[in-house]
């Protein structure tokens, strides 16, 4: 019994030392950044894209170091569960002593995590990639220490509105379909509001259950209304179903339009050759964008073409917009630390507020949005599937090709 007690005691002692000592030694040598992503669970795909972007940025920054020290990103899995996200954030703050948070995906997660930060004075610094909901902007946007790099929901819909206004001949009627959760509902409300303000007639706004096996009733109603634009806001699997069943029903609006989920290779392959042709979608960023290298920091912010080449060489896959967004977020935070010359929070955020440079994702400058103090990347783009490839068609200054309009009828393909 005495031996057992001694063994347990020694085990606890060495176990505790094992946990504490490396932290104490390492703290002097590295700059720790916390990254909470849904690495398992429903957000795993996007989260792994974000992780890859941050790993690439970390390796590049560590070639020279920041303030003579290495950057170390500590990744935590939130399993897309708000309670677990809070666990991860509390651990990163209290045990790992991170300097800042970078990355993340999901507005529910973001709400819970930033909610947990409320009790800290000062609040942790964050360059946040996954907080696109307006509820987050309204609730946390006034905090100077939060730098938001994901476009707010309304930027999606103002971009789509401006795009539709630019189309000739101009569409008159729009049918809006949306999945019935936070994403679809929130976006569709804004779309309806902005479209009506711009003079479009919204003939209907209808919800459907995401992942439903059959959307024929919805599409039949839409077909009966004969809208110029059929605009749906949903997830990837729903996009596949809309395309396939739209073809089956021979539903021929002048334009099929959707949001970012329409832009994946998986979608194009799932609907089959040619079926995505002329469909348009909103995007935060595409690898075909052509932004030049940064004048200030060309070694970390090369041109889009060079960055995409490096990413593709390293990971053997095309980057997602979350890859580049998380890359830019981490580099911007590191550059803020470098410019501040210290890890002191207020100096770092002051330095980040002064960043004004080109990145492979576009111009980076934090400025106020409707409710937030620091927000970057307000401009979104519209792409169109043409001959199996994506072509940027709006806005004009980033366009890589001309819009094909109107949509050719299914029977004429």
């Amino acid at each position: 019994m005495r031996k057992m007690t001694m063994a347990v005691g020694l085990g606890l002692l060495f176990g505790s030392l094992g946990m504490v000592l490396p932290v104490a030694w390492a703290a002097e040598e590295e700059i720790r950044i916390g990254a909470v992503w849904g690495l398992t669970g429903p957000q795993a795909g996007v989260s792994q894209e974000g992780r890859r972007g941050m790993e690439m940025a970390q390796d590049l920054l560590n070639k020279k170091g920041v303030l003579g020290r290495k950057i170390r990103v500590i990744f935590e899995d939130d399993k897309a569960d708000p309670a677990v996200a809070v666990s991860a954030a509390e651990k990163l703050i209290t045990q790992d002593k991170v300097v800042a948070f970078v990355g993340g995906v999901g507005s529910t997660i973001c709400n819970a995590m930033l909610g947990a930060f409320e009790k800290y004075t000062p609040k942790p610094l964050g360059t946040l990639t996954g907080c696109g909901a307006t509820t987050i902007e309204q609730r946390f946007g006034k905090e100077r220490g939060y730098f938001f790099v994901h476009p707010w929901e309304y930027y999606y819909q103002t971009t789509m509105r401006d795009f539709l206004l630019s189309v000739t001949p101009r569409p008159q009627t729009v049918f809006i379909a949306h999945e019935d959760r936070l994403y679809g509902t929130s976006h569709s409300k804004m779309a309806e509001e902005y479209f009506k303000e711009a003079g479009f007639k919204v003939v209907a706004r209808e919800s459907f259950k995401s992942g439903a096996p059959d959307l024929t009733p919805l599409l039949t109603r839409a077909k009966a209304m004969n809208p110029d634009v059929f605009y749906w806001i949903a997830y990837g699997a729903d996009a596949v179903l809309v395309t396939k069943q739209g073809k089956e029903l021979n539903f021929n609006p002048r334009m099929y339009a959707s949001t970012v989920q329409l832009g994946t290779q998986e979608y194009r392959d799932a609907v089959g050759k040619g079926n995505a042709e002329t469909f348009v979608g909103i995007t935060v960023w595409e690898p075909i964008a052509a932004f030049p290298a940064s004048k200030e920091w060309p070694e970390v912010f090369p041109s889009t073409r060079d960055w995409v080449r490096d990413y593709t060489t390293r990971f053997k896959r095309e980057p997602h917009y979350y890859s580049i967004m998380s890359y830019v977020a981490l580099v911007a935070t590191a550059k803020g630390i470098e410019a501040a010359g210290s890890l002191e929070r207020d100096r770092v955020l002051g330095a980040m507020e002064k960043i004004n440079t080109m990145t492979p994702m576009g111009p980076l400058k934090f400025s106020p949005s409707k409710f937030a103090v620091n927000h970057a990347f307000k401009q979104m783009m519209i792409f169109q599937w043409q001959k199996g490839e994506k072509v940027l068609v709006f806005p004009r200054d980033v366009a890589s090709g001309m819009l094909m309009h109107p949509f050719p009828a299914w029977t004429q393909r």
């Binding site: 690495l39 398992t40 795993a44 990744f75 935590e76 899995d77 399993k79 569960d81 708000p82 309670a83 677990v84 809070v86 666990s87 991860a88 509390e90 651990k91 703050i93 209290t94 045990q95 529910t108 709400n111 819970a112 909610g115 947990a116 409320e118 009790k119 509820t135 609730r139 019935d180 959760r181 936070l182 994403y183 679809g184 509902t185 929130s186």
Partner: protein, 320 residues
């Protein structure tokens, strides 16, 4: 027998002191984990009450969600403070359970499980489709309870967790133990003996839902935000079921042990093994359930009995 009682009393006293003392030594991270452990103790112990009466249900997430939304809406619409909101959530969940139970509890086994599983989905759809009242998919944002301080939040959730455990002790020491046991073993025979099985099953269902609703009532105030997908998350039903099975079904300590072990082991695996954590967690759970079908409490009991043999009196039925 006396030695067994002494050991149990000492164990409870040590656990009680640990629950009250250890939190003062912990930081926000440790305290948050204890809040989660307490929440899962409440869920698993309340689900275990149903199993005492032999009912296999998957509707716990529904009662948790009703508690969460009732409490959140009372705060949002009427400014009701969270303790009253929690009580409202618990009562709301119990009333719903009594109503639904009266209909569903005529079903047995897997049919009951499917019916209660559907209940969770149905409740979620209702909340999603009355956005003018529930805020729908946008969700409800609340101010952090105790201004985000973890220590008082832990003590609230600890109180919530203790209640279903005490209820289980009460059931085991009252005549309900025999009634529930008879329903569990052979419902037809229990009816033949004149037991109103429907009434007792509805009672067990409502009591279980009350505690799940109470835990749910605290959750949105603690996390500060709730949406239908997280409040009516079917994963909660599964976890509420796995924890007592792993700890030891039909026992007082089983759900507590299961909740503590699974929450803390899950967190350890998450922080240690990255994306592989779920795989290891799943394999470990399958192995534990295969090797120790009467749970960790049963394993501990066997280990203890191997060292301190307890004389068995002949002629006494094991009613557990």
């Amino acid at each position: 027998m006396r030695r067994r009682v002494t050991v149990a009393t000492t164990g409870v006293a040590v656990l009680g002191l640990a629950c009250l003392g250890v939190p003062f030594l912990l930081g926000n991270y440790g305290l948050h984990l204890l809040v989660l452990v307490s929440m899962y103790v409440a869920l698993s112990a309340s689900w275990n009450i149903l199993t005492l009466a032999g009912q296999l249900t998957l509707g716990h997430a529904g009662f948790f969600g009703v508690g969460a939304y009732t409490s959140a809406l009372l705060a949002l619409r009427l400014g009701v403070p969270f303790p009253l909101g929690m009580a409202g959530g618990a009562v709301g969940a119990a009333i719903l359970a009594a109503g639904v139970g009266f209909i569903c509890l005529r079903l047995r086994g897997v049919y009951l499980a499917i019916a209660t599983l559907s209940l969770v989905e149905a409740l979620k759809i209702v909340v999603l489709n009355v956005p003018d009242f529930t805020e729908g998919p946008i969700g409800i944002t609340l101010s952090p309870v105790f201004r985000g301080a973890r220590l008082p939040a832990y003590f609230v959730m600890l109180g919530v967790a203790i209640l279903p455990v005490l209820a289980t002790v009460w059931i085991k020491r009252s005549k309900l133990h025999v009634i529930f046991g008879s329903i569990r073993e052979d419902e037809g025979a229990a009816q033949m003996l004149g037991i109103n099985t429907t009434a007792y099953k509805v009672f067990a269902f409502a009591l279980s839902a009350f505690f799940a609703g109470l835990a749910g009532g605290f959750y949105p105030h603690y996390i500060t935000y709730t949406v239908p997908d997280t409040a009516f998350n079917i994963g909660l039903s599964i976890e509420a079921q796995i924890m007592p099975i792993l700890g030891g079904l039909y026992t007082v300590a089983g759900p507590v042990v299961g909740a503590v072990v699974l929450t803390l082991v899950g967190e350890y695996l998450r922080t240690t093994f990255g994306a592989a954590n779920l795989l290891i967690y799943g394999i470990a759970m399958v192995l534990v359930i295969l090797w120790f079908p009467d749970g960790l409490v049963g394993l501990g009991r066997r280990w203890w009995q191997a060292r301190v043999p307890v004389p068995v009196r002949e002629g006494v039925a094991d009613v557990r």
